[in-house]
């Protein structure tokens, strides 16, 4: 059994982990840089250790200091949160060598999924659908055959390529020859290498990810999907569970594929398998072998505390639920509240003069900030997450609209006004968006 958890992170996720540990009656150690001495999780932890100066590489990324902090406090487990050392296989190994439980998967699994090539190979082996593509180079002889196999539209890409050069889309067979020849010519001109390969082309995919938890002994469950298509510069901004695009059959089908894959690999801990989704098909992107920022929307619709599950399986206690006990109830949306200008997204560090979280039914706020808290300029700008739950997506959005009007963060700029705009947007209300939607919207795209 784990008796004392050191939380190797900061901000809202450090507080999130602390809350779960407290609920399980496990003692907590907060570690922090000198910039975070006043952080909420430091105040609420049973013990705290300052591990270095503000720069992350000298504190939150400094494995040596964190292990030393375990030693002097007697912590027998480490929860890495997300980011920082959460997907660092070496960290997991060093902890293991010191007899400290890493609350996460094995170093081997972190490594396997941390490399794009081995991750995709593993996904294929485990039966997880990937983007179909040519095995190797495409030539004038096999181009049509391969394209037909993959199915149109297809994308022809330079094997030496990057940055969009030597990349052409063929929507139908009629476009194929021209696309193939242009791609080859551009590739040769740009890279001195005319070799090209082929992939399925996804024009307007959604980002849909499946939450899984495994016990490391061959048992694993899925907790449905999250739709994280609303992104800005590959940063998720608004997440929903369930996805407005999936039906129950699709959900349970892809969920079962992922759970089965995790059983097969004897995965331990929480993980997320990310897909692009278009026209009813899922295409594996990557697997995150850690808790994710947006995990609370899954908790909202399942009532299952994912950090509790992480701690349980790390302790060898196994999962608290079986797949058939999991019920998906209603709809949840998370808005990431960043200390940023809601139009320009320029960071806005500073002192929060007033902070008043919204309340009422179906509202959850995960945030380490408080009135008087000074946001340090050294770390990312996420200062809190607003999670709203309703019996239906419509009820959830109506509640979100109400809640956004109540949320007060004064003294700095936040992204709250962006969400006030989004909850009125017709595309958002219909759930009709893809991974390009938010960028277009922010650029003033005509379609919105």
């Amino acid at each position: 059994m784990i008796s004392k958890i050191l939380i190797a992170n900061r901000g809202e996720i450090a507080l999130r982990v602390l809350r779960a540990a407290k609920e399980l009656g496990i003692a907590t150690v907060a570690v922090h840089s000198t910039a975070d001495a006043d952080a909420m999780h430091v105040r609420l932890a049973d013990e705290s250790v300052c591990i270095g100066p503000p720069p992350s590489r000298e504190s939150y990324l400094n494995i040596h200091q964190i292990v030393a902090a375990c030693e002097i406090t007697g912590a027998d487990a480490v929860h890495p949160g997300y980011g920082f050392l959460s997907e660092n296989a070496k960290f997991a190994e060093i902890l293991e060598a010191h007899g400290i439980t890493f609350i996460g998967p094995t170093a081997e699994h972190i490594r396997l999924m941390g490399d794009k090539i081995t991750a995709k190979q593993t996904a294929v082996e485990l039966g997880i659908p990937v983007v179909p593509g040519s095995e190797g180079e495409v030539t004038a002889e096999n181009v049509l055959e391969i394209a037909r196999e993959i199915g149109f539209p297809v994308l022809i890409k330079a094997t030496a390529g990057g940055g969009g050069r030597g990349m052409k889309v063929a929507k139908t067979e009629a476009d194929l020859d021209e696309a193939f020849n242009t791609a080859r010519t551009e590739a040769l001109a740009a890279f001195g290498n005319g070799a090209v390969y082929m992939e399925k082309y996804l024009g307007k995919p959604r980002h849909i990810e499946i939450q899984v938890v495994g016990d490391g002994e061959g048992n694993a469950i899925h907790l449905g999907e999250r739709d994280c298509s609303l992104q800005r510069r590959h940063q998720k901004v608004w997440e929903e569970a369930n996805s407005p695009a999936l039906n129950v059959e699709q959900r349970m089908n892809i969920g079962q594929i992922c759970a089965d894959a995790m059983k097969k690999m004897k995965y331990r801990g929480a993980g997320t398998i990310e897909f692009l989704y278009e026209n009813g098909e899922f295409y594996f992107i990557e697997m995150n072998t850690r808790l994710q920022v947006e995990h609370p929307i899954t908790e909202a619709i399942t009532n299952i505390d994912l950090v509790h599950e992480q701690i349980r399986v790390a302790s060898g206690e196994g999962l608290s639920v079986s797949q058939d006990e999991i019920q998906f109830q209603g709809h949840a949306i998370e808005c990431r509240i960043n200390a940023e200008d809601p139009r320009t997204f320029v960071p806005s560090p500073g002192t929060i003069t007033h902070f008043h979280a919204p309340g009422g039914l179906g509202v959850r706020v995960d945030s380490g900030v408080y009135a008087g808290y000074k946001i340090p300029p050294y770390y990312d700008s996420l200062i809190g997450k607003l999670i709203v739950h309703g019996r239906t997506r419509e009820e959830c959005i109506k509640r979100l609209r109400r809640v956004l009007d109540e949320f007060v963060v004064d003294g700095i700029k936040t992204t709250l006004p962006l969400f006030q705009d989004l909850v009125e947007n017709p595309d958002i209300l219909k759930g009709d968006y893809d991974i390009h939607w938010l960028e277009n919207y922010l650029a003033g795209g005509k379609e919105h």
Partner: protein, 155 residues
Amino acid sequence: MSEKKNGIDKGLIRDLADILNDTDLTEIEVEQDDLRIRVSRASTTQYVQAPIAAAAPIAAAAVAAAPAAAAPVAAADNKNAITAPMVGTAYLAPAPGAKAFIEVGATVKEGQTLLIIEAMKTMNQIPAPRSGKVTEILITDGQPVEYGQPLVIVE
């Protein structure tokens, strides 16, 4: 690692911080005999000086229920304090029972070992960053220390 109580009245500091918060003043300074306490609102850290160099800072803001678990970083404001460059267990002597590296009143030279911090089974010698006289040793043998914690005062 905020269990440094060596004679400082933590309750008094907390009371002053409460007064500061309650009254919304920006600063309170209290001086009596050789004790001077200043708590302020403008900066995020408040500090205490004399008779000892280290004390737990009082949180400026709301969390009354929080245990006093903040770091004694502000004590590094004492310019003469040598602070811990790493987390670990501090030892004053090279081996159990051996003579201590330094004692109060001793003169040390730049580069001379002041103490050892053990972390991850490694003994790290902490050298004096400058020459001077040891006026105070703020830790005991075998005490866990955190980053930035004042160890020794060299004047």
